[in-house]
């Protein structure tokens, strides 16, 4: 379990199965006229160490997204959103840099930073992710209000599950 590649691989497998076998099956019900979704698999991309190259992040995002799309039967929608998430990650990290700077080898976890830092980081990234995801799903600026409403609802549920997972497992890297 000390090999980081195997560790990350297992984590990825867990996130994907958690997403498609559990979260997809839970009916979160219509809140108003809209259904809320919960997405935790982007957390894998958020947690990867700082030194992970952007190219690798993009390819991983694309592959993971396509895998989830396979189960959601929405070819390309998740993939485009997670590629987008991967693309904005380095820039966002530069903006959120804590006082002491980063250790490039550390994972971006609660243990390595702090609960507030991680919450802020995860919240901003998930907001971008969900906004992009629902833009692609609705696919027309005509339904702008629908995009905003779905993003807001799913933001709450997704962040809730992400926080639960992080607090239960509390990984170091």
């Amino acid at each position: 379990m000390n090999n980081p590649i195997i560790r990350q691989g297992l984590r990825l497998l867990f996130f994907l199965l958690f997403q498609v076998l559990l979260l997809k099956q839970i009916p979160l019900g219509p809140i108003g006229p809209f259904y809320a979704d919960a997405f935790v698999y982007p957390l894998f991309l958020l947690l990867l160490p700082q030194r992970t190259s952007l190219e690798l992040l993009l390819l991983l995002g694309f592959g993971i997204g396509l895998f989830v799309d396979m189960f959601y039967d929405s070819w390309g929608v998740h993939a485009s959103a997670s590629v987008f998430l991967a693309f904005i990650r380095p820039g966002m990290l530069r903006r959120l840099e804590p006082k002491g700077g980063y250790n490039l080898n550390y994972g971006l976890t609660i243990q390595r930073f702090s609960l507030t830092w991680f919450l802020r980081y995860a919240a901003i990234m998930m907001l971008f992710y969900l906004g992009f995801y629902y833009s692609m799903q609705v696919f027309s600026p005509v339904f702008f209000l629908e995009i905003v409403a779905k993003t807001a609802l799913s933001f709450v549920t997704s962040l809730f599950f992400i926080l639960i997972l992080m607090l239960i497992f509390n990984p170091l890297d």
């Binding site: 694309f62 390309g76 929608v77 993939a79 590629v83 991967a86």
Partner: protein
């Protein structure tokens, strides 16, 4: 080549990002029904807007050609309108009188022309048009627009003709009150290019402001029923037996551009008839 490689090394991630998003977009539009429909309608909306703009530009470029075609068409229609016919009622049977409704024989034809010189400010105004003997335009022929009468051809050369304007103190045109048949001479007294005078209408005939004045068809120059104008004022000067009628001309001669020269196809016969009367 190295520049290109350096560019790739520097922005490789951006290219990769765009490339992957491109694939995603393709997948989204290709395999998702909703998004496919939205994409298709948006694309056609977009291309439709572009094509529409393009059409506007090309339509403008074709304008001159279209105007030309339309002028020809108007000339053709004027030729066909009832004013231009000599009503050929014929007796075809000795036993019963029968009007041959198809016996319309063309009496007038028109030649379209452009005004290339015009004046309205003097007392003896003339126009120049770009049609002459080559096109069958000879003096005296009537000149009209779609709004009303313009004048009478005075001289013709090979390609051009000068036209005695209605706004010329020498011009006299036979005109009548529409629907009533009282006729008189239309003259112009100078200075006001919007109004002319109708003389010689006996005062026992009721004429009212607002009545329409049209050509009488008594001369061979104009077909019967071509619009001249509308009665503005009318009164009987003291000691005279005829009305003095002010007519607002329907054709604005200060802006005239497209005109039609009226050819009387029976001119020879009329001339012969006049000859016969003169020889008596």
């Amino acid at each position: 080549m190295f520049g290109l490689l350096r560019l790739l090394a520097r922005f490789g991630a951006v290219f990769l990002f765009l490339f992957l998003e491109g694939i995603c977009m393709y997948l989204i539009v290709r395999f998702n029904e909703n998004q496919k429909a939205i994409f298709a309608s948006s694309a056609s909306y977009f291309s439709g807007a572009i094509l529409n703009q393009y059409q506007k530009v090309t339509r403008y470029a074709r304008l001159e050609k279209q105007v030309e075609t339309m002028q020809k068409e108007v000339a053709r229609l004027e030729n066909e309108s009832w004013k231009m016919y000599y009503l050929g009622q014929t007796k075809t049977d000795t036993a019963k009188m029968r009007i041959d409704t198809l016996g319309l024989v063309p009496m007038y034809s028109v030649v379209e022309a452009q005004v290339i010189n015009n004046s309205v400010s003097g007392a003896k105004n003339m126009l120049t048009i770009n049609r002459g003997r080559k096109h069958g335009v000879f003096p005296p022929m009537g000149v009209i627009t779609s709004n009303g009468i313009v004048g009478i051809v005075r001289h013709s050369t090979e390609h051009f003709s000068s036209v005695l304007s209605v706004l010329n103190t020498q011009t006299r045109i036979s005109a009548s009150v529409k629907g009533k048949g009282y006729f008189g001479s239309l003259v112009w007294k100078g200075s006001d290019p919007r109004h002319a005078w109708l003389l010689d209408v006996p005062k026992h005939n009721p004429v009212h402001p607002g009545d329409t004045i049209e050509t009488s068809g008594f001369s061979t120059l104009f077909p019967k029923g071509v619009l001249v104008g509308v009665v503005r004022k009318r009164w009987v000067p003291s000691g005279e037996s005829n009305y003095l009628i002010q007519v607002e001309l329907s054709a604005d001669l200060t802006h005239v551009n497209q005109v039609y020269v009226v050819k009387n196809l029976f001119k020879k016969e009329f001339d012969q008839l006049e000859q016969l009367s003169a020889n008596e």
